[in-house]
């Protein structure tokens, strides 16, 4: 089960599709369990123990080599095909889901046949006791994931832990079998597996960098492969931080003097780009300047999300009484407070020196449900809603809680991530977000920002307009972003997204 969970996590990370990844892993895995347990009934009594050993050994091999094989296959596939972008296309998605299904099915068959075989072995243990012990296995896997740092470990460490536990099971079987040969055989495979797993971090780095840099090379010869690997190894550096909630990637590109290109640093959350050096200021300044322009006398501010500290940095030199920032991911805050580049970008805003600022590590839903103090301004800066988990933060119930947290003359500004479809109309996902806000009684939206888009609402439902006579001390780039867009707002095709009846965004 731990193997299937690792596979589901791996697929989610590389496809960015939460529901598909879980379904295409857990579905075939359960199907495999069914096939495996059905087959186990047909195994002759005399060979059950040997089969059990063989199945356990095969599981060990598959789980240990699975991440490396998976990443290597995706890397080879995506470079052997003439795609525009390495990972984010339909063909790559189909390939990854198909690969996941096959691996999950295989793991399921191997896992499913072991328990019925175990039940039928000659022993004095009562059936119900064995069933109970069997249930304790998944409990251990879940407990390990929940109450430890395992989820933020590098992938190959997670796999090594599972392999180690499986090896213990194999050793126990060796004791039952009382044979030396299988014991030595299982010991022999450990070392190549460790090497294989260790190489996984290099393959992972190559795959991620090739995806972010959109390398597209005609890989026709060994020389072209070598050139690609040399380029990926030497061009950009990638720093990867796993937290229990997300994977943060920082891609640093050096300046190119021949092409007169400046260097850049880009932040990705779960492989979705958040900002780079060219866009970081215009995004965060737009949000803050829009708030100051639309509402005078802001005393209390609530920021939901924004663990990178960049919104905090924009507020630091301003006048206000109290700012509360609620961020779920403590590791994100810690990383943003200590990483040299992030510290430079947020100018140490997360250091905790400003007595007006309170940083709370909590789930935004939980915080809003349990705190009823009114705020003059609420700013929402969440990642793209590409998972069921994140879609909750774009739901009717969530917006109703936000409305409750605003004072009667309060202001709400949030990021509007998906704006226009190919025909220039408001994309369906955007329509769903606006319709959901409308259902929570947020009326008269002001959608603005041709470069970085946002939507603003007044709690008293009045129509919001920018006052351009008060925009003197704002950078030109930001000023150009404080422009209303989509004046004719039609969100009739959208659906209300609810936590209790979620719509895919």
């Amino acid at each position: 089960m731990a193997g299937a969970m690792i596979l589901a996590g791996l697929t989610t990370e590389y496809t960015g599709e939460d529901i598909y990844s879980q379904s295409f892993t857990m579905g075939p895995y359960l199907l495999g369990l069914g096939i495996g347990s059905s087959w186990a009934d047909r195994v002759y009594e005399s060979s059950r123990l040997k089969w059990l050993w063989g199945l356990e050994f095969s599981s060990l091999l598959i789980i240990a080599s699975m991440p490396t094989l998976y990443l290597m296959s995706v890397f080879l596939f995506s470079h052997a095909m003439p795609f525009e972008v390495v990972l984010d296309n339909l063909e790559s998605l189909r390939f990854m889901l198909a690969l996941t299904s096959v691996l999950a099915l295989l793991m399921g068959i191997l896992g499913g046949s072991q328990f019925p075989l175990l039940l039928k072995l000659p022993h004095k243990i009562k059936e119900e006791v064995l069933v109970m012990i069997n249930y304790m296995g998944p409990l251990m896997a879940l407990g390990l994931l929940l109450f430890s740092e395992v989820m933020s470990w590098p992938l190959w460490h997670q796999v090594s832990l599972v392999v180690f536990l499986q090896l213990l099971g194999l050793m126990a079987l060796n004791v039952v079998l009382q044979q030396r040969r299988p014991f030595y055989l299982s010991l022999l495979v450990i070392f190549p597996l460790i090497v294989l797993n260790h190489s996984q971090s290099r393959i992972e780095g190559l795959l991620i960098r090739s995806s972010y840099l959109s390398t597209r090379t005609q890989l026709t010869s060994w020389g072209s492969w070598q050139n690609l690997l040399r380029f990926l190894d030497n061009y950009a550096t990638l720093e990867r931080v796993r937290t229990p909630y997300q994977t943060i990637d920082l891609l640093i590109e050096p300046p190119d003097y021949q092409l007169s290109l400046p260097g850049n640093a880009t932040i990705y959350l779960n492989r979705k780009p958040q900002f780079d050096l060219a866009t970081v200021d215009v995004y965060h300044q737009s949000m803050v300047e829009a708030a100051l322009n639309l509402k005078k006398d802001i005393k209390s501010i609530l920021i939901l999300g924004a663990g990178d500290g960049l919104l905090l940095k924009e507020w630091s030199p301003r006048s206000f009484e109290k700012l509360t920032m609620v961020e779920l991911d403590a590791k994100m805050i810690e990383w943003s407070a200590t990483h040299p580049i992030m510290k430079e970008l947020n100018q140490g805003a997360l250091s905790g020196h400003d007595p007006r600022v309170e940083i709370i590590v909590d789930d935004a839903i939980h915080y809003l449900k349990n705190n009823r103090q009114g705020f003059d301004l609420v700013l929402i800066d969440f990642p793209f809603p590409n998972s069921v988990d994140l879609a909750k933060l774009y739901s009717h119930e969530f917006y109703a809680l936000v409305k409750r947290a605003l004072k009667s003359d309060g202001l709400l500004i949030l990021d509007l991530p998906i704006l226009q479809d190919a025909t220039g109309n408001l994309a369906l996902e955007g329509q769903t977000i606006l319709k959901t806000l409308d259902s929570a009684h947020f009326k008269n939206p002001l959608v603005f920002g041709p470069h970085a888009s946002f939507v603003a609402y007044a709690q008293n439902q009045s129509k919001l307009e920018f006052d351009y006579s008060h925009m003197q001390n704002i950078s030109l780039q930001t000023k150009l972003n404080l422009v209303p867009i989509l004046k004719k707002l039609d969100f009739s095709q959208g659906e209300v997204n609810s936590m209790l009846r979620p719509r895919v965004l």
Binding site: M26, L33, P116, V131, I133, P138, A400, R503
Partner: protein, 217 residues
């Protein structure tokens, strides 16, 4: 009981149990936040309870006939599973977070505990075909794992789909219980009406749950 019937029961009951697990994960993550964490806690609690349930079966079997245990378990599951999303949301609306969470987790454990009896009851009904019973058990879980995210949750919502699944649980009783034709007809009518109501009143159930949720602290 015939083999086919036992396999069918294994499929349906596994579907219901796995659905309850998923629905409770969703409800608790909505009330407490932290989806991943809540799903892990639910799976862990549920699995432990399944283990204890199957362990207790041995003792219960000595004192009660198998049929009685099975019927009792299914009645308990229909009530606990069918009402739990509403009860849990109501608890968070009226009690402190600590007590609401504690009682909710106890409910989760109880549903898991009752579900733990099911597989071992089915094993007892057909002692030679453990593998096949497990196959249908896994297939039931597969059906729930696919139907929950793609149909039940987005189309019906947690409220209506839970009523629907609890009705399915109730329908299993008609197979297990030795009923006369009149009682069988009456129980089938209750099942039919429940299915119709959950489809037709899905918006009412959804609104009721949302109001209950927003009334919460």
């Amino acid at each position: 009981m015939r083999g086919g019937l036992v396999y069918g029961l294994s499929l349906v009951l596994a579907f219901c149990s796995f659905y309850y697990e998923l629905a409770l994960g969703q409800i608790l993550s909505v009330n407490l936040g932290g989806t991943k964490q809540q799903y892990f806690i639910i799976f862990a609690l549920f699995t432990t309870a399944l283990g204890f349930g199957s362990l207790c079966f041995g003792r219960l079997k000595k004192n009660y006939p198998l049929e009685k245990i099975f019927v009792g378990v299914e009645i308990a599951l229909t009530l606990l599973g069918g009402l739990s999303p509403f009860v849990i949301t109501g608890l968070f609306a009226s009690l402190s977070t600590f007590w609401a969470a504690a009682i909710s987790y106890f409910l989760v454990f109880s549903i898991g505990f009752a579900s733990g009896f099911e597989l071992i009851c089915l094993f007892t009904l057909l002692p030679q075909n453990h593998g096949k019973i497990l196959t249908f058990d896994y297939l039931g879980m597969l059906a729930a794992a696919l139907l929950f995210p793609y149909y039940l949750l987005p189309e019906l919502g947690v409220g209506a789909s839970t009523v629907l699944v609890a009705t399915l649980n109730l329908a299993a009783l008609t197979v297990i219980m030795p009923l006369g034709p009149k009682m069988r007809l009456a129980l089938s009518a209750v099942v039919g009406i429940s299915v119709l109501l959950s489809y037709q009143q899905q918006d009412t159930l959804q609104d009721f749950l949302v109001k209950l949720y927003l009334g919460a602290k």
